[in-house]
């Protein structure tokens, strides 16, 4: 009876969503969206506060938002305050994991698997490549797909690889905690610089440069590298909490 009620509720909600999709303004049919009628067109044209005319890759100089990747422009510039709140959510959740699982005397989790010599050496070589890929993705977030969040997650997965390949390895968690709090504080500090110089919290006060070059877009690469460091060290701390247990 309970299962039947749950099935009926799920079907009702699915029916409700499908009925609301019947070609109205908010949800047009799949693939027939008119982007020009949405607020996103202003983000693509970069004319929220100014009117720069045609945006051209490699030629347009000093737009109101510099990144060639429009998604990055929204995440780290137009809606940067949103991202600050989101980073705070991740911080609170890693704090909760540390409160629930972190104990005083910790040792590595004992599992029925011991890596051999080849696995240990091979993963050392792979560790550097994955770490470099993560840093590359975080630094080039304003030009190519990616950015701080996947870059930080790649840094964390390189740490996970070291944990998997050596069953007595422990990273220096204290260093991660210092890095995380420094990166989070630097993000707010950048916001305060924008407030003092430009008049708004997280206002971009540096030169935006040419659209599409590596040294462009002002604060945005700095913010994305900081987000990458913060996410990477936070998720590494979570992984360390999951792979240790109480003991001497």
């Amino acid at each position: 009876m309970k299962n039947f009620l749950a099935l009926a509720l799920s079907l009702f909600i699915g029916f409700l969503i499908i009925m609301s999709l019947r070609n109205n303004v908010a949800f047009p049919e799949y693939g027939t969206v008119n982007v020009a009628s949405r607020v996103s067109q202003a983000y693509l044209d970069r004319d929220v506060t100014e009117n720069p005319g045609t945006v051209i890759f490699g030629e347009s100089v000093n737009l109101e938002s510099g990144p060639a990747n429009t998604v990055t422009a929204i995440v780290a510039d137009y809606r940067s305050f949103d991202t600050l709140g989101e980073v705070t959510v991740l911080f609170v959740s890693s704090l909760g994991v540390a409160l629930l699982l972190g104990t005083k005397k910790q040792k590595r989790l004992e599992v029925d698997f011991h890596p051999n010599f080849m696995l240990r050496v091979g993963s050392r070589a792979l560790f550097g490549i994955i770490l470099m890929t993560g840093i590359y993705v975080a630094i080039h977030g304003h030009l190519t797909p990616g950015g701080g969040f996947p870059g930080g997650a790649m840094i964390a997965s390189s740490m996970l690889l070291l944990y998997l390949a050596n069953d007595s390895f422990r990273a220096k968690i204290k260093g991660f905690k210092i890095l995380e709090s420094a990166a989070g504080s630097a993000y707010i500090l950048i916001g305060l610089i924008g407030l003092l110089v430009g008049g708004y919290f997280l206002q971009n006060v540096l030169d935006n440069g040419t659209l599409g070059s590596l040294f462009s877009a002002g604060f945005i690469p700095i913010i994305y590298v900081l987000i990458g460091l913060k996410v990477g060290s936070e998720i590494s701390g979570v992984i360390d909490n999951f792979l240790t247990e109480e003991g001497v």
């Binding site: 990747n69 993705v137 797909p145 996947p150 997650a153 998720i235 247990e245």
Partner: protein, 84 residues
């Protein structure tokens, strides 16, 4: 009916099948593995919908880190293979 349409239909059917298996499989570790596969297929969906940023993020986080966390939780409590 282009090739892209056919790929979309195949991905849609596989995604629904994998979600059904992940919810209804008997052992917990199989359920987690089907969830990882579902996440990897959703990456293909994101690429088809021209969202490369989301695809990269989902590939690293959804099918890498989350699966590792699930597997290590199951290993830590030693409940591998037992019935749900």
């Amino acid at each position: 009916m282009t090739v892209i349409n056919i790929i979309e239909i195949v991905i849609s059917i596989l995604v629904i099948l994998l979600a059904f298996l992940a919810i209804n499989s008997k052992t917990l570790i199989k359920s987690v593995m089907f969830l990882s596969g579902l996440s990897m297929l959703s990456v293909l969906g994101f690429v088809l919908m021209k969202a490369p940023d989301v695809a990269v993020t989902e590939a690293v986080i959804g099918s890498g880190l989350v699966t590792a966390l699930f597997v290590y939780t199951l290993l830590a409590v030693g409940k591998r293979g037992k019935k749900a």
